[in-house]
Every structure is written in structure tokens, then in C-alpha cells.
Amino acid sequence: MTTISPTRPRRQLSLRQQDLRTGWLLVIPALLVILGVTLWPIIYTFILSFYHAPTGINQVRTFVGLGNYLEMIKDQTFWETIGRTMYFTIVSVGLEMVLGMAIAQLIHSHPWGWKFLRFSLIIPWAVPTIVNGAMWRWIYSADFGALNGLLMQLGLIKHYVPWLTFPNLAMPLVILADVWHTMPFVALILQAALATLPLELDEAAAVDGANAFQRFWQIRLPLLRPAILVALIARAVDAFRVFDIVYIITSSGPANRTLTITYLTYLNTFPWGNQGIGASLSFLISIFTISMALIFIRFLYHPEETQ
């Protein structure tokens, strides 16, 4: 006697599950592309950082473990470059925060022409960094520069000054160009945040006799902390990776006095063909920038205080 086993009932997916499955099916191709062009290069670079990897086709790569990292850490140029990059980051971002806050306050007080001022802020920020660098290189030009022309007309200098040839002045001049370009970003973020603050607190403090500085320092500034944090992290990480403006204005000179860590990475990777060193430097830069972001979050992010 034969028995017929009962057929297993087909599991029915709910409508939500069906939609979810369709959604995933549609997203997976794009996700694969995104992972391919973002995650894979990161993984590949990480692997590369453990190899002696000269540039070229079918080049033999030798596994050196942490050799590339140790070579950099022992290298005096690396630490000098880190110090120089920190200097650029601290001064540049510091100036941007102070000036950005001052301008945000100015716009927030709605003086005559404040809308024009706010619009004007976008112009330096909208200029591509490469164009900004080329513009400032011409401004600083010893023989044809606008800076020399202006100072001569004002009678402040008697001879044209070759600004970019002074080892201790080159970096501050690059910083000035960077601040001009990116300060508006900070100002706009802070101005937008100021506009959302409740007026009542400010008014109540004024009634209680607090002067303008006290109201700014003790009321607005603490309330602006989340916006400051966003601007600070975005700018500090960006400033630490500075490359293009240095490349255009000074090419790391004079005498390496504007050589930053990303520029050193570029030199190793492309002109010098040391891809393993370049990859390890890239990861060291990542470690530095992530550490910076974590420090800022640790000291500035207190959501309970702003609620």
C-alpha cells in the first residue's frame, strides 16, 4: 500500500515582507557599486600598506608587515610634517571659528545690508579650492602680486616683497588663503544655528541686566555648542588633510616649510612610486583625523546641557 505524503504548504510572505524583498532586490545593485568604489579601495589600501609596493605593472610586492608604518614613525620628516599640519589645522580652524562666529553674530543682529553680506559670504566658499589657490598665488606674487601693489600704494613697503620665499611666512600665507576660502562655511553654519535659538532666553537675560557679552558667552555660546561641534569636526578633518591649496601656492616650499602630511602622502604615492608607504600614510592620516573628531565629541558633545 502506498502512502501519499501530504504536500508541504507554501509559506506565504506578508505584504510587508514582499515589499522588503523587492526593496532589497532594487537596492543591491547600487549597493554593490557603492561598496565597490568606496569600501574596496579602503580595504585594498589597507592591505597595500603592509607591502613594499613599487608603482608599475606586474611589480613584485614584498610583504613587510608593519614595516611601512615603522619606517614612517621613525622618520624625522614625518613628525615634522605632522607638527606642521597640526599648526595649519589649529591656526586655520581657530581663525575660521573666531571670525566665523563674529560674522555670524553680525549677520544675526541684522545691520544695514546684512542680506548682501550673507550672500557675499557664499562667493569665496563657492570658488573651487584650486582656483582659490591660483588666485592667492598671484596675489602673493613678488613681481606682479596685488598684495605688493596695495602695500606699495599705501606706502607701507618701498620694495616688492617676495612673500613666498620666507620659510616662516609661507605657511601663515597659505593659512590666510585657506581662511578666506572656508571661513564662510563656518559663518553660515553658525548663523543658521543662531537663527534657531529661542529669543526669550536672550530677552530674559537682558531684563535681568546681563550685558551683550554676558548674553553671548553664557547663553548663546552654550546653545550653539552642537553647531560649533559640527563646524569644528568638518573643518578640522578637512584642514588636517589639506593638499590642493598647498600644491598650487607653494608646492610644499620653501624648503619644505609648507609640506603637509597629505602632500607627503601624495609625493610617496605618485612622484616617488612608494605605494606601500603612501598607503600606510593614508591610514595614519585616518587615525589622526578620527582621533581629532573623537576628542572634539568628548569635550563638546553634551546633549543633556542643550536640552
Binding site: 532594487l26 565597490g36 616650499g253
Partner: protein
């Protein structure tokens, strides 16, 4: 039906996603070859474009897509272009200092068997030296350039100077006279910024003082007394206000701009500066620029050195992974042909030595208004062109030397200290 729709949607999403990644323009009928070169020395982009169009007319099945970038970007564009398959470029301009690195990297196609007997016999032997390693040829000679000594005739006449200097010591004396008379504030301009130009100028001066980069065993010797004397002289010329202090941040384009504005009496630069100086759309000194043999140091002259410059030649190489080596070689052959090089010789003289002989010479001299000046200057200067070291790690070695020279010029270190550190770096690089 519902399943079919989902499969269709999935396939569509897949096609769009990967299709966007793999977008590539295809040329109907024939092939497109991509060629990278510089927009600085040699021919101007408009001239090369014109040559490419002439070639396309003669070869309708080949289209030439030219890409021009500043000299400083060519090397890196080649490196990144070679990371792709097929490569970003079928051919690229190769500076005389790059072949060793690129051959080691496997970037350059061996074209030994494509070079004809006519090419070998009639192009300057020096032009082949730049692209030949271990008996194999890796490129087509294209531009033979050296650094020239240029001066402003009008300024020298006003200063009462009858002839340009023959030694660097005479240059200092003449520059002092010009400065004292207030004709220009800084009589001499150089490309001494932290790039290859400063190494080129150092080469000119070093060999003109009887120095060298390496000894017979390959050991660096540019830090010996000859090299230190040269770097000390460079620094002193800046301190005396005779060399323009902006030289420390100037490249060759900045040197040209300064010279063409009439702000300098003397300049050292590639040939393009001469033709540009006579271009009224760019220059304020049309008709005033002149070429003279590069001076040497008095000590070098006493030791029998008759001239010293630096070889700045370049070639075109076919990329090893190019899909169209035959078509590319055809274009390069046209680009470097006698006829084309003679026709476009205003800023770049031919690589063919037979163009400088007999009837061809008369034709070359008459080809452009500049040639009666530039051809004799080339023949006088090129025999004294010195080579920078031909090593695969040249770029990194050069960077160390650039740094050393800048450190000395800006007073960060003494010439001896700076050159010693660069020499130590070269030893370290050679041992890797």
C-alpha cells in the same frame, strides 16, 4: 507575473548600476588614440592640434585625442593613466629623467623593431640616448631642448655693456653695474622654487664649475667643494640683490613672465622663452631678447670647460598596454617627421641632425623668423648639455636635492650641511 516584474526590475537596476560604471565613448569607424603631453616647453597646444588634424586628414581611420597639462602634472597623469585597463593614454610625453623609472615600472613599449634605419642614422644620437636602455629603444625622440642663457640687449646697451658675460663671475660684475645704474632692481631671474627647475639650474652651474652629480662608482659627489662653491655662489647672488629674491619661489613660467616684463636683464630658461619674448601679445620686450652661450665659472673655464647646460629633451613613448600601438606609432612617426618638425620649428628645433646640414639647413633657417637666432644657438649650446642622473629613483633623489638647495638659499642650513644631507639621502635611495 508578479515574479516576472520583480526580475525585470532587478535586471534593469543591475544594468543601470553597472552600465554607469562602464560608460565608454566609442568612435564609429576607425580608432581613437589618446596622447598626453605638456603645455609648456616645445610646441603650443594649438600647433600640436594642427599637426593632429593634418595627420587625421592623411589617415582617416585614426583619430587623435590630445590632452595637454602643465609639465608638473604629466608624470602623475601617466602613473594614474597606467593604473587603468586599457590605459588612459596610448602615448605620452616622457621627460629625459623618467625613462628609467617607467621602464622599471613596465609602462613603456619596446619599439626597437619599429625604428627605421633612416631614423637611427639621421636623428641626433643624443636624442636616442634619452630613450635607449640596454640596447632597447622605448620612445620616439621629439624635443631636444637645453637651458639657454638669455639677456635683454637694450638693458645691456643702456648699461654700456658691450657683450654678454662668458663666466658667472662676469655676470655678477655686469649685474652689479646694471643694478647700480638703476636699470632694473634685480638683474637676474632663476627658476629656483622647490621643483625640478632648480635642479636643472644647479646642473648648469655645477658642471660649469667642473663638478658632477656622481663619480665613476655611482657615489654622490655634488656635495664636494665644487658643489658647495656653486650653492654658496647662488646664495650670495641672492643676498647681494643681484638675483631676484623671488627666484626662490619661481618656476620657468614665472622666470619668463619676469623677463618678458622687462624686469630682468638676464635669465636662464628653455627655448620657449625666446619665441615668447618676441610675441607682442605676451611680451613687453619684443626685439630685445638675445641668446648667448651659457657662461661657466672662471675655475671651470681655466680647467678647460667650454660650456655647460642641462639636457631637457623629451620623447613620446607608447604605453605598454595600449590597444593601438601600430596606429600610435604611425602618429608619432608623423609628429617627429622632418617635414613637420621643420614646419613647426619656431619654438622647438628638429631632432633630425640632417636638418642642420646643407640645403636642409637653409630651409630650416628660413622656416620661421626665430630660426636664424635659435638654430646657431642650439648648435652652440647642445653639445654642452649635461645629463641628470639616469636612475629609477630619480624623482625622490631630485626632491632631496631640491630641498637641500632651498634650505641653503633660504638660510635654513649652510650649503655644505644641506648638500651633505642630500648626498646621504641619495646613498640611502641607491641602497634600497
Amino acid at each position: 507575473m508578479r515574479t516576472l516584474n520583480k526580475i525585470t526590475l532587478f535586471a534593469l537596476a543591475l544594468i543601470i548600476a553597472f552600465g554607469m560604471v562602464g560608460c565608454q565613448k566609442k568612435q564609429a569607424g576607425g580608432v581613437v588614440i589618446h596622447v598626453l603631453t605638456m603645455d609648456q616647453a616645445g610646441l603650443k597646444p594649438a600647433e600640436i592640434d594642427q599637426i593632429a588634424r593634418e595627420f587625421e586628414t592623411l589617415n582617416p581611420d585614426i583619430k587623435v585625442s590630445m590632452e595637454y597639462v602643465g609639465y608638473d602634472y604629466v608624470h602623475d597623469k601617466i602613473v594614474t593613466g597606467m593604473a587603468a585597463t586599457p590605459p588612459g593614454y596610448d602615448a605620452a610625453m616622457i621627460d629625459v629623467i623618467w625613462p628609467d623609472e617607467f621602464i622599471k615600472a613596465g609602462y613603456l613599449l619596446d619599439v626597437t623593431n619599429r625604428v627605421t634605419a633612416d631614423m637611427k642614422a639621421n636623428m641626433f644620437p643624443a636624442s636616442w640616448n634619452g630613450v635607449t636602455r640596454n640596447g632597447k629603444i622605448y620612445g620616439m625622440p621629439w624635443l631636444m631642448d637645453v637651458k639657454y642663457f638669455m639677456y635683454n640687449k637694450d638693458i645691456l646697451t643702456k648699461a654700456g655693456i658691450a657683450a654678454p658675460p662668458t663666466t658667472w663671475e662676469e655676470l655678477i660684475a655686469q649685474a652689479t653695474t646694471i643694478k647700480q645704474q638703476g636699470l632694473v632692481e634685480f638683474p637676474i631671474i632663476w627658476s629656483w622654487n622647490q621643483k625640478e627647475g632648480v635642479v636643472c639650474d644647479f646642473t648648469v652651474l655645477l658642471f660649469g664649475n667642473g663638478g658632477a652629480f656622481l663619480d665613476a662608482s655611482g657615489k654622490p659627489v655634488f656635495n664636494n667643494e665644487k658643489g658647495v662653491q656653486v650653492l654658496t655662489w647662488m646664495k650670495q647672488s641672492l643676498d647681494a640683490g643681484l638675483s631676484n629674491p623671488s627666484s626662490v619661489s619661481s618656476d620657468e613660467n614665472a622666470v619668463e613672465a619676469d623677463f618678458m616684463a622687462g624686469k630682468s636683464a638676464f635669465a636662464v630658461n628653455w627655448l620657449f622663452q625666446y619665441s615668447d619674448s618676441n610675441d607682442a601679445t605676451k611680451s613687453q620686450i619684443v626685439g630685445q631678447a638675445a641668446l648667448a652661450p651659457m657662461p661657466v665659472f672662471a675655475a671651470g673655464a681655466a680647467a678647460g670647460i667650454k660650456g655647460s647646460s642641462v639636457d631637457g629633451s623629451s620623447s613620446f613613448a607608447i604605453m605598454a598596454t595600449s590597444r593601438y600601438p601600430d596606429q600610435t606609432w604611425k602618429f608619432l612617426t608623423y609628429l617627429a617627421s622632418n617635414e613637420v618638425q621643420t614646419k613647426y620649428s619656431a619654438e622647438m628645433l628638429p631632432v633630425w641632425q640632417n636638418d642642420f646640414q646643407g640645403d636642409a639647413l637653409a630651409k630650416l633657417l628660413a622656416a620661421t623668423p626665430n630660426n636664424p637666432v635659435t638654430v646657431p644657438a642650439f648648435l652652440a649650446q647642445f653639445p654642452y648639455a649635461n645629463e641628470r642622473p639616469t636612475v629609477a629613483y630619480y624623482n625622490e633623489a631630485s626632491a632631496a636635492l631640491q630641498l637641500a638647495i632651498q634650505e641653503a638659499l633660504t638660510g635654513v642650513k649652510t650649503p655644505q650641511q644641506a648638500l651633505d644631507e642630500a648626498a646621504a639621502k641619495w646613498v640611502s635611495l641607491a641602497s634600497k
